[in-house]
């Protein structure tokens, strides 16, 4: 269900009204900045990432007509932030959350074989979505926050009113459950 505000912004974008970008910043600017900061861990990079996202949105809509403008915006932002992070880390492996997350997932997804070689990516995605659907809302949000937007343990502990250790335990268990689930589905 599209929010009324999102509908208005989409309409302005279709009419090539630059006010749409200002409305987007007013509505989702803070959220975009936080997500970008989680990945890039640098305020200046995060600001540039948000600006790049707005440009990408401007260029993509139209013809794109996303059903959920907010999620669409965040996905584009995440892609741009990840690309930017990879570019910056090309020569050196830093200590950013992205790197830490990759290390965390190394045990869960140890196979060096590319996923395209085994199954269709959509099947895996569908299985992950089903797996997430079996979780409680808090656990699902914690998992997605960690592996989608790379939130730190500190932020997660603050937002979910838990200790960092508790968050770590939850994520460890969830990764194991996901691995077990994907193996059961013959996707690992």
């Amino acid at each position: 269900m599209i929010a009324i505000e999102d509908k208005r912004i989409l309409l302005m974008l279709c009419n090539r009204d630059e006010q749409a970008l200002k409305e987007t910043i007013a509505e989702y600017g803070a959220l975009c900045k936080v997500v970008a900061l989680d990945i890039l861990e640098n305020e200046q990079d995060a600001d540039e990432c948000v600006n790049d996202t707005l440009l990408a949105i401007w260029n993509a809509i139209p013809p794109a007509q996303p059903e959920n403008y907010r999620a669409y915006l965040l996905k584009i932002l995440r892609n741009i932030a990840l690309d930017r992070y990879k570019t910056k880390q090309r020569d050196k492996r830093g200590n950013g959350q992205y790197t830490v997350v990759l290390d965390e997932l190394a045990d869960t997804f140890p196979s060096p074989v590319s996923i395209e070689d085994i199954v269709d990516q959509r099947e895996v995605l569908s299985a992950v979505s089903r797996f997430l659907g079996t979780l409680s809302e808090d656990h699902r949000d914690i998992f997605v926050r960690r592996y989608w937007s790379f939130s730190t343990f500190t932020d997660l502990a603050h937002d979910f009113n838990m200790t960092e250790n508790h968050i770590k335990v939850i994520l460890t268990r969830l990764r194991k459950r996901l691995q077990k689930y994907l193996k059961k589905e013959n996707l690992l």
């Binding site: 907010r70 990840l82 992205y98 290390d103 949000d141 009113n161």
Partner: protein
């Protein structure tokens, strides 16, 4: 599958999951806001329950003459203060004439003075019977039923003493009532006795409400009629009636009379709209209140002021707007007495 592919794939998760996860960033702040608003609501509730009932009772602006001592009788023409409880203490005209020559000592004979007082008391069954017969489809029917109520209201019952502060000590030849004020502070009372009925709005309400003794308050928009004194400044001859019909046409869910104070030269009541916000889309209700008019007011010879305060409560903000409507009593002719 390797971790990078998994991370990349995560971007294609359903929108709902992504939105839900990002909403969780503000959950913590939301919880704090819930706590703050809950505490604030608790304070408001505490205020409404514990403090508001104490301060909402109207304190009459008119104070007793400081020159009048406890032993001094005070004419009703002075702004003396009295009070009444649920059942109004009244004097019938016949008793006034019989006891007009009697001087009663204020302290020792208060009981005997009360013996001259009859209380107009209508049982609840009778009241409901009366009210149920009233279907005000026109102003004429209101008049007819008002007369019927007057007949019933003359039923006299046993004596009761409700106000220790005011005792009727002297009845002069001119049928004026003199009082002794035992307490300088106004005495609060719980509730005015009234009978209420919700009816349909009459198709046409006559502007001439004097004869029918009807006091009409219209409109859902409170301020518009509160300050329009010409529309609601009616002259009502209280000498003719024992009951005053107040009809209020409003979109409020319910209205009840919750308090007030009786002054010797005026009557002060609060109509409290016990309702949520006025809903412009909902149909208007007609609330009919039959207010028992104390007979000691009826015997007065000069203009009275009926002071109505209408409080409209907003359920969300708990704020209320209060307006005052004055209904002046006509000067009673000596012929009628």
């Amino acid at each position: 599958m390797n971790p990078e592919e998994f991370i990349k794939m995560m971007n294609d998760l359903p929108d709902e999951i992504i939105n839900s996860a990002n909403d969780s960033r503000f959950k913590h702040h939301r919880k704090i806001w819930y706590i703050v608003s809950t505490v604030a609501a608790s304070f408001v509730a505490l205020f409404m329950v514990a403090i508001y009932p104490q301060i909402r009772v109207l304190t009459p602006d008119i104070c007793a003459d400081p020159a009048i001592s406890n032993d001094t009788t005070q004419s009703i023409t002075n702004p003396a203060i009295s009070s009444f409880d649920q059942i109004s203490v009244t004097l019938t005209k016949s008793e006034i004439s019989e006891s007009s020559e009697t001087n009663l000592d204020s302290e020792s004979s208060s009981t005997s003075a009360l013996n001259t007082i009859t209380s107009t008391k209508v049982s609840s069954e009778e009241t409901s019977a009366i009210v149920s017969t009233i279907e005000p489809t026109t102003s004429q029917t209101i008049e007819a039923h008002t007369t019927e109520i007057m007949v019933v209201s003359t039923i006299e019952s046993q004596l009761s003493t409700h106000s220790e502060a005011t005792t009727i000590s002297t009845l002069s030849d001119q049928s004026t009532i003199t009082t002794t004020i035992n307490s300088e502070t106004p005495i609060e009372y719980d509730e005015i006795k009234y009978y209420k009925e919700i009816g349909m709005l009459p198709s046409a309400i006559s502007d001439d409400v004097t004869e029918s003794c009807a006091f009409d308050l219209y409109g859902a928009d409170v301020p518009s009629w509160i300050f329009d004194e010409y529309d609601y400044l009616y002259s009502i001859d209280f000498n003719k009636f024992d009951l005053l019909l107040v009809s209020i046409y409003t979109k409020s869910e319910d209205i009840s009379i919750v308090g007030g104070a009786l002054l010797l030269d005026s009557m002060n009541m609060v109509l409290y709209a016990n309702s949520l916000m006025l809903d412009e889309d909902s149909p208007c209700n007609l609330y009919l209140f039959f207010l028992q008019i104390p007979k000691n007011i009826l015997t007065e010879q000069f203009k009275y002021t009926m002071d109505f305060q209408y409080q409209y409560a907003d359920d969300y903000s708990k704020e209320s707007s209060v307006g005052t409507i004055y209904v002046k009593r006509v000067v009673a002719n000596d012929d009628e007495e």
